[in-house]
Amino acid sequence: MDSENLIIELDHVDVTYQDLVALDDVSLKVPSGSFLAIIGPNGAGKTTLLQVILGLVRPASGVVKVFGKSPADLDGERRRIGYVPQIMSVDLNFPVSVREVVLMGRYGRMGLLRRPSSTDRAAAHDALEVVGIADLADRPIRRLSGGQRQRAFLARALANEPELLLLDEPTTGVDVASSESLYELLRVLHASGITMLVVSHDVGVVASYVEGVVCINRRLVAHGRPAEVLGSEELTKMYGCDAMFFHHGRVPHLVVEREQ
């Protein structure tokens, strides 16, 4: 594979939190233009994987490169990465409007001591148009539905015009219809040239939109096209004996019974 075309390169990455191993010897190459789903059980290190790419977590060993650089040295190129974190990571009652949240996406590139320019405001507005909630710009975020709120946070990431978009469980707390239209939107964004990495537990839903599935459970368990990965024995092994698949349409669905 042409290495200039690679947006993300992880080479034998280990991450440990004190005694806990979060990622164990993970190597992954993501070419530009990919649309990948990252799946795995709870506590498998899916979020950690995103945080390593974002430079929020430093690996104990191994090499991470994003746009050919270590995430710590990205500086001005940070804005090339958009991130939509798990919705539960923020206070949803915080008194800010949708417009303010989206504008925050550009605070980093504006720099210290600068106020938002008309360009910044226009970019925020455009991002809201793209995700289809420009009419809700002045609404406080606590008055949004789950689906609208995800679109607001997606708009915040898009306001920076990123080339790579990382989403962590974007459909948590979102009903089925909104969740499908959100994935539909991600497909449109991908078609416009944005490389996508989506962490999800909606294995069935996500598989019908993405081009590739990365399965992790601390280690990289499987990586390939959705049909290959989801039918594989590794996946069954990873989820344990309680996992089974059923086929619905062209995509195998994974059913995991929770322990206890």
């Binding site: 009652n93 915080f94 925050m104 605070y107 008055r143 539905s145 707390g173």
Partner: protein
């Protein structure tokens, strides 16, 4: 009622009280929204160690308290940064140890110092012309820094991780916020007192939070409530011959309960999204 405004000590107290009301309300907005009220209480109690040190060294206790509170705020920030020690644990340790340090120093001093009582519980009589200058200088510094880093403080308060991801120096802004909290505590203790200052850091902003869903409006309302509490509390304490700090804090608490009762947040519940 009006004749008390003719007293110089009252003019000084009201001037300082107004500044304290503004600054506590502004910084309190961040404290309430980011959930830092326990750190605020910790820093406030740490100021006791700083004040005692000032008495021992025979320099203005407010100046020693500045360094002592900044040091404590940074220590709490550093210790919790890597996640090895939980925030409330760190505060719990510094809270008690800095007070213990102060008590130890007081014990070393000959005789009992009456002024110390004023620092603990606040006093309208204790505000000297020098204190007015110190309060004015510190207030101006805090408000200027808030103005300069307004958007970064907002972003880090709302979503520190995302701020860091998009290139905002989130860790440094967090330490700035801790420093602003320390300065706010120090400039307030003369009037409100060490024991009660943490309430003034939280209550006006918490009342304002009940009344609006807009960040700037919350800060403005918080200032209005903060100044009403300090000025109203000072005047009341003179009339009723009660402790200034206690009167201010109880007045603020009363406003908080009224705000909570009429809060639109109570009527309009947020959309439930957990499935």
């Amino acid at each position: 009622m009006m004749e008390i405004l003719g007293y110089h000590f009252m003019q000084r107290a009201l001037f300082a009280g107004t500044l304290i009301g503004i600054v506590c309300a502004v910084i309190g907005t961040y404290i309430v929204l980011k959930g830092l009220s326990f750190i605020g209480a910790g820093i406030a109690h740490a100021s006791f160690g700083g004040v005692a040190l000032g008495f021992l060294l025979k320099v203005n206790p407010v100046l020693t308290a500045v360094f002592f509170c900044l040091g404590t705020a940074w220590a709490i920030g550093l210790v919790t940064r890597k996640g090895r020690v939980k925030e409330d644990t760190a505060v719990g340790i510094f809270f008690a140890s800095t007070m213990a340090f102060g008590i130890l120093l007081i014990g070393l001093m000959q005789g009992y110092n009456v002024d110390l009582f004023g620092y603990l519980f606040g006093s309208i009589l204790a505000v000297s012309q020098n204190d007015v200058w110190i309060t004015l200088g510190l207030s101006a510094a805090v408000l200027l820094l808030v103005l300069l880093f307004f958007k970064e403080l907002l972003f880090v308060t709302f979503d520190a991780e995302m701020a860091a991801v998009t290139g905002v120096p989130a860790a440094r802004i967090y330490f700035l916020l801790l420093s602003l909290m320390a300065l706010t505590v120090v400039l307030s203790i003369k009037v409100v007192g060490i024991v009660l200052v943490s309430a003034l850091l939280v209550t006006p902003a918490a009342a304002a939070y009940q009344l609006t869903e807009n960040f700037r409006r919350m800060m403005a309302l918080s200032v209005l409530i903060g100044v009403s509490s300090t000025v109203g509390g000072l005047l009341l304490s003179y009339q009723l011959n009660t402790a200034a700090g206690a009167t201010i804090v109880l007045l603020a608490t009363l406003i908080f309960f009224v705000a909570a009762l009429v809060s639109p947040r109570r009527r309009r519940r947020p959309v439930q999204t957990r499935s």
